[in-house]
């Protein structure tokens, strides 16, 4: 997943200008806003904003599948397989329409600029999009693979009870990727509080964090001993601010979006805050495709598995031109083999019952098998077994849930202070 600086203030559409008869921003009810901040202990059933398509709807003949997704977040070979398998319907696929961050994706959907069959939202965007009527309810009969193959935790997820609008796509933990030629496994795993290694001046200029406020601020909270990663408490956030400013002083970190999966494997970083899926895909970006070189890549996640763990979703936009095809594609992606083959390229693990943890560090994925230039790599390299996500992680781990608008503003303030790069000494 990549985010580059890029989105611009979009010019409003003519309809938006004409609709500006009343003062905007005063049309939502408090009940709607409550729906936007689900928690694992306060699950949310999103309102039905329409009817799912009928089960006997035929697959749209001659359709071109439209995918709206993060960059590099679905393997095109898998999409092409889907097209081949459905050749009797004369469907086609040309390219994925991509977005750089969820704000950009949401604003494009909101403005009606995108007509996609499937969309890959993060959890925090799901309630907003559903409440605003921008997603369509799913027909469960057309997606039997969810019940068949997917972890029980996703049969009724807290952010979308009864999975009315979404299915899970991938699961990941958030830990630290590191260069094992610089930092040994025993060094980082032996630390009392390994989050502190991101503040270690010994690695000055060689540390990266994500250019993503939730993940980086949550790291500062965890380093400071605060485990509520959805806190809106000003005291907690003040502490996070202090931690981040001291990080600026100590290590001069860089905020990136491709630092872990691409630039650390290429030698640009010694340490990076990392989603497990990023470092699992890292072997595909090394300068030398040898097992010896792969061994330079490592991943730390708490051994007791008490750390941040989450998932991304797939949904169908309300204005999808081919909703029946979209259901078919979602069901296809939830097929065990398709999901695993996609995983072998994307690096992000699907929450599949049959994806046994032992299998993931022993079996070679399809992408590795067909990569003649590279020495073989397992789905997850065996020495970074901690990057394998288990269903039980969701029982003990911290889940990043949507924030209330007030809390979100506080988080954004912390982030601005960090991004402004104003060191404490200045």
């Amino acid at each position: 997943m990549r985010r580059s600086a890029g989105a611009a203030v979009a010019l409003p559409s003519l309809s938006a200008i004409l609709a500006a008869c009343t003062r905007p921003g005063e049309t939502r009810t408090p009940e709607q806003i409550d729906l936007l901040v689900p928690r694992p202990d306060r699950p949310v059933t999103l309102p039905m904003t329409g009817e799912p398509i009928a089960t006997d709807t035929p697959i749209e003949s001659g359709a071109e599948l439209q995918i709206f997704n993060w960059v590099d977040y679905v393997w095109k070979a898998i999409v092409r397989r889907f097209v081949e398998e459905n050749s009797e319907h004369d469907i086609s696929f040309s390219a994925v329409t991509t977005f750089n961050n969820m704000e950009e994706a949401v604003s494009k959907m909101q403005a009606g600029e995108i007509e996609a069959d499937v969309f890959f939202p993060t959890i925090d965007a799901v309630p907003k999009l559903a409440v605003a009527g921008l997603l369509q309810p799913l027909n469960h009969e057309l997606i039997p693979n969810l019940e068949e193959n997917v972890w029980s935790v996703y049969q009724n997820p807290y952010y979308d009870q009864q999975w009315r609008y979404t299915v899970p796509y991938t699961v990941y933990t958030t830990g630290i990727s590191y260069r094992r030629d610089v930092i040994s496994d025993s060094q980082i795993y032996g630390m009392a509080n390994p989050w502190e290694i991101l503040w270690d001046p010994a690695h000055r200029d060689r540390v990266g964090v994500y250019d993503s406020y939730r993940d980086t601020i949550q790291t500062a909270l965890l380093k400071g001993g605060i485990t509520d990663i959805n806190t809106g408490d000003q005291g907690d956030l003040d502490l996070a601010t202090d931690e981040l400013l001291s990080m600026l002083d100590l290590v001069n970190p860089r905020a990136t979006i491709n630092g872990s999966y691409k630039r650390l494997p290429q030698g640009e970083f010694d340490l990076h805050l990392s989603w497990s899926g990023d470092i699992a895909a890292g072997w595909g970006y090394v300068p030398e495709y040898t097992r010896d070189y792969y061994e330079n890549l490592g991943y730390w996640f708490p051994e007791d598995r008490v750390g941040p763990v989450d998932n991304d979703c797939i949904a169908i936009p309300a204005n999808a031109p081919h909703p029946r095809l979209a259901h078919e594609f979602i069901n296809f992606l939830l097929d065990f083999q398709n999901a695993m083959d996609n995983f072998s390229w994307v690096g992000y693990q699907p929450p599949m019952n049959d994806a046994q943890p032992a299998l993931l560090t022993e079996a070679e994925g399809l992408y590795s098998q067909i990569s003649g230039w590279a020495e073989p790599a397992e789905y997850v390299l065996p020495w970074m077994e901690s990057a394998v996500v288990r269903q039980s992680d969701f029982d003990v781990g911290y889940r990043q849930a949507p924030l209330s608008p007030e809390a979100d503003e506080r988080w954004n303030d912390v982030w601005q202070q960090f991004k402004a790069g104003v060191k404490t000494g200045e």
């Binding site: 985010r3 580059s4 600086a5 890029g6 989105a7 611009a8 203030v9 010019l11 409003p12 938006a16 200008i17 500006a20 003062r23 905007p24 921003g25 939502r28 709607q32 806003i33 936007l36 750089n100 961050n101 704000e103 950009e104 949401v106 604003s107 909101q110 907003k128 409440v131 605003a132 200029d205 060689r206 990266g208 250019d211 406020y213 600026l248 001069n252 970190p253 860089r254 905020a255 990136t256 030698g267 640009e268 300068p287 608008p405 979100d408 503003e409 954004n412 982030w415 601005q416 202070q417 960090f418 991004k419 402004a420 790069g421 104003v422 060191k423 200045e426």
Partner: protein, 319 residues
């Protein structure tokens, strides 16, 4: 009271002159003919400047969607709210002060380097380019044919720890080990800005220096000036408008640049104003603040633009 017939009104005189001029050339132009040539430019300004500017104003004084927290422009000025503007000003003089200072510093240094290097190159091509002038100009302009993004990507490869710059520096023993150019250094951002914008400095300087009459320089020499004082007392003062134009052309986009820093550093310690604006645009709930920051930057940049316009107007008057 009647006017004496011998003194027609000025309007009448000018009309008579126009008609005579038209008669002489044998063509009659309707009144609207020449002003009509400005209409594409006026339409352009309306659609691509005034409308976007009003949109930015409507966002800055507007509100945000309570669910998506995307900016909601308020088009009617009587519903405008100033809370985001106050907040933006607060931050400009508080939290972001260091970023503004840093940006000014980077732009100042980068523009100065552009000027020194650009002047030398433009001077050489204009005065000593000879028959190769056209070739040299094409070579100088050729980087502009490649997109800015690609040029910065090329630099990322060159400045990498394993890149050619480090290989050459270590081979020549200038540095004992590779330098982490891309590891969050202000100097890299400044050099990136220079690299990105220097062609825009060279072109106006060249165009101006090329037009300086050789006879002026010769008279300087005839009056006893050595080459250095000819340059300092003749060439340099004559090229002042071009220097100003070059500085304005390179420094204005540098102030708004965010890409160079993103590509070549990414460290918060080198954040520029453009990065703050970009971050705000990409953060839910901060759309109005981004618009306010854009307006503040625009107002700040009016100062150098105003100075430039005034000094060129004065120069024109002096002529």
């Amino acid at each position: 009271m009647s006017k004496p017939a011998s003194s027609p009104s000025p309007a009448r005189v000018s009309k008579v002159r126009r008609t005579r001029a038209a008669e002489q050339s044998g063509v009659h132009y309707p009144r609207w003919f020449w002003p009509a040539f400005a209409s594409p430019a006026i339409a352009w300004l309306l659609v691509f400047f005034l409308l976007p500017l009003y949109t930015v104003l409507s966002i800055a004084f507007g509100t945000v969607d309570p669910i998506f927290r995307t900016p909601l422009p308020v088009w009617q000025p009587w519903w405008w709210t100033t809370s985001h503007v106050v907040e933006g000003l607060d931050k400009t003089f508080g939290l972001f002060q260091q970023v503004y200072l840093r940006t000014f510093w980077y732009v100042l240094l980068a523009s100065a380097v552009c000027l020194v290097l650009g002047y030398a190159v433009a001077y050489y091509v204009a005065r000593h380019g000879g028959r190769r002038k056209t070739l040299l100009l094409v070579l100088l302009v050729s980087p502009l044919w490649i997109s800015y993004l690609m040029r910065m990507l090329a630099w990322v490869n060159l400045l990498d720890r394993e890149g050619y710059v480090n290989r050459i520096l270590t081979f020549l023993h200038v540095v004992p080990q590779p330098v982490g150019w891309l590891e969050g250094r202000g100097i890299t951002v400044i050099l990136g800005l220079v690299y990105g914008y220097i062609p825009y400095m060279i072109l106006p300087l060249y165009a101006f220096l090329d037009r300086i009459e050789g006879s002026l320089l010769e008279s300087g020499r005839d009056l006893g000036a050595d080459p250095v004082s000819t340059f300092v007392r003749v060439t340099l003062p004559l090229s002042r408008p071009a220097i100003l134009a070059g500085l304005v052309i390179v420094s204005l986009p540098m102030f708004g640049d965010y890409f160079t820093n993103t590509m070549l550093s990414g460290s918060p310690s080198t954040t520029m104003i453009g990065n703050l604006i970009d971050d705000s645009i990409n953060t839910a709930g901060q759309g109005p603040e981004a618009a306010v920051l854009i307006l503040i930057l625009m107002i700040m940049l009016l100062i150098p633009i105003g100075y430039y316009l005034r000094s060129t107007a004065r120069a024109a008057e002096a002529r």
